[in-house]
């Protein structure tokens, strides 16, 4: 009798144990699933705000914004923005940003890329936690320092200062003179987190050398080119040569399309200017058309030779537009 009762009590306990485990298991699964859903939803929300930023950038120029986001790590690559496992692919995105944006704030800046007519807007995104050190005494160095938002963690020095480690997750040196000796205080930082660019040129065009930390010295990562201050600023925000060149290729392909439209428009203006007072304008339009055609041909590829052609043609085109304005002709752009 006692044995049977003992068996009954034991069976009850086993039954309670199984039922309890089933209930706990059920709620654990629900909680884990809900946590995953919530995390994905947060990531998607950040990605949505990134999309809104990208849309906003294409419709406004010369603006700077600070956007609050949930604390996250945003990875930016050529035509791809990703947060954790959630990512969005773009075919022709022009977004100059460090490969990793950390923190709960985004600093965005937009500038128009004009050669001399606006071809597209350049969007720059970075984190207030990233440190920018600008070293140079030239007019261009001062202009670049002024063009970058004051909300950035930026420091401007006319000569090499003593650099201290302030625990920033990334440091970008912008050098307008000679390459500096690698700062001892930054030797312990991961190699990919300390980068530098050395600029050799003026506000129109020039050469950019990309450098990266390698233990306690600098390692050259290659050379590229810039056209206009806007693309130079792009090279400051993008921390790798690949991302910079990818964005510049996208800028050039857009420039190619827009130039084609301006060339066709100018051709039509030439056809319409064959009679009366407007006849004088014909000459300006013909000159402008040849400049537009050379920009169109040069914008097919991003390289030094084409940059020189575009910079020269842009200058000539600008003076033709001024002439058209003086003679009260319809403007070219």
């Amino acid at each position: 009798m006692m044995n049977k009762k003992g068996f009954e009590i034991q069976f009850n306990w086993i039954f309670v144990l199984v039922a309890g485990t089933a209930i706990i298991l059920f709620f654990t699964v629900v909680v884990i699933k809900q946590k995953n859903v919530s995390e994905t939803s947060t990531k998607a929300t950040i990605l949505k705000s990134m999309e809104a930023v990208i849309t906003g950038a294409s419709v406004s120029t010369d603006t700077t914004n600070i956007i609050d986001i949930p604390n996250s790590d945003i990875e930016v690559d050529c035509g791809r923005v990703s947060i954790g496992g959630v990512s969005k692919q773009y075919q022709s995105l022009v977004l100059f940003a460090p490969s990793l944006i950390k923190g709960n704030k985004l600093i965005t800046q937009t500038l128009a890329f004009s050669t001399p007519y606006r071809a597209t807007n350049l969007l720059y995104i970075t984190s207030p936690q990233m440190r920018y050190i600008i070293i140079g005494d030239s007019k261009l160095a001062k202009e670049i320092n002024k063009s970058m938002p004051s909300e950035l963690k930026k420091e401007f020095y006319q000569s090499m200062p003593e650099i201290k480690n302030m625990n920033n997750y990334k440091i970008r040196f912008v050098l307008f003179e000679n390459l500096i000796d690698f700062p001892k205080a930054l030797e312990k930082m991961p190699d990919s987190d300390v980068t530098a660019i050395k600029i050799n040129g003026d506000s129109e065009k020039g050469i950019i050398e990309f450098w990266q930390k390698e233990s306690n010295s600098w390692l050259s990562k290659g050379t590229s080119f810039y056209i206009g201050k806007q693309s130079l600023i792009g090279a400051i925000y993008a921390d790798t040569l690949d991302v910079y060149e990818c964005n510049m290729r996208n800028v050039f392909s857009r420039l190619n399309l827009v130039t084609k439209i301006y060339a066709e428009r100018t051709k039509k203006l030439t056809q319409g200017a064959t009679s009366g007072r407007q006849f004088q304008c014909n000459q300006f339009y013909s000159n402008a058309l040849s400049q537009l055609n050379s920009i169109f041909a040069a914008s097919s590829n991003f390289n030094k030779g084409n940059i020189d052609v575009i910079a020269d043609s842009a200058k000539s085109l600008s003076s033709e537009n001024k002439n058209a304005q003086i003679y009260s002709c319809t403007l070219i752009y």
Binding site: A19, T55, S58, Y117, R118, S253, L257, E264, K268, L269
Partner: protein
């Protein structure tokens, strides 16, 4: 009472108790499932609302992008004129955007963009068209615009129609 009968009665009682517990558990799980279904339904309707809101936002975004396209926008010495479309640019933009439809898909997604001139003459330009058959939502945005003809230096009046489709 006979010992066999006592054992039989106790066994029956235990079986009833187990049955009761199983029934309670069954009801408990049924209640949880009902609660869960209710929760899922609320979440689903919230997601649908959010999707609708997002589609509307994207539609507004696409409309804004078109208004600010350097391919069609009016400018005077590189100064942008708001809500103004250059007719001379439109003619060439029409063919260029059609030829580079995949490039512009990144900006304009699945949409149909057309411009109708109402005054002084009636004219129509189809700028971009990339549609899907199995769309879930469709938004039509009409924006009144000024149509500038640089050849005659005269402004006309028109409507920019943007039809956006979302899956």
């Amino acid at each position: 009472m006979h010992p066999d009968l006592l054992i039989h009665t106790k066994m029956k009682k235990a079986q009833i108790q187990i049955g009761e517990t199983i029934a309670v558990l069954f009801v408990f799980f049924i209640l949880i499932i009902i609660g869960f279904m209710f929760y899922v339904k609320i979440i689903k309707s919230n997601i649908e609302l959010e999707t609708e809101e997002l589609s509307q936002l994207r539609s507004v975004g696409i409309s804004q992008k078109i208004m600010f396209l350097p391919e069609v926008q009016c400018s005077e010495d590189n100064i942008i004129i708001d809500n103004c479309i250059d007719i001379l640019k439109l003619d060439s933009a029409q063919s260029i955007m059609k030829k580079n439809e995949i490039y512009y898909y990144d900006l304009l997604e699945f949409s149909d963009v057309s411009i109708s001139q109402i005054y002084p003459n009636e004219a129509k330009w189809n700028l971009y068209s990339r549609k899907i058959e199995d769309f879930n939502s469709k938004f039509v945005t009409n924006v009144p615009i000024s149509l500038y003809d640089p050849a005659t230096r005269k402004h006309g009046f028109g409507v920019l129609t943007i039809e956006t489709l979302f899956k």
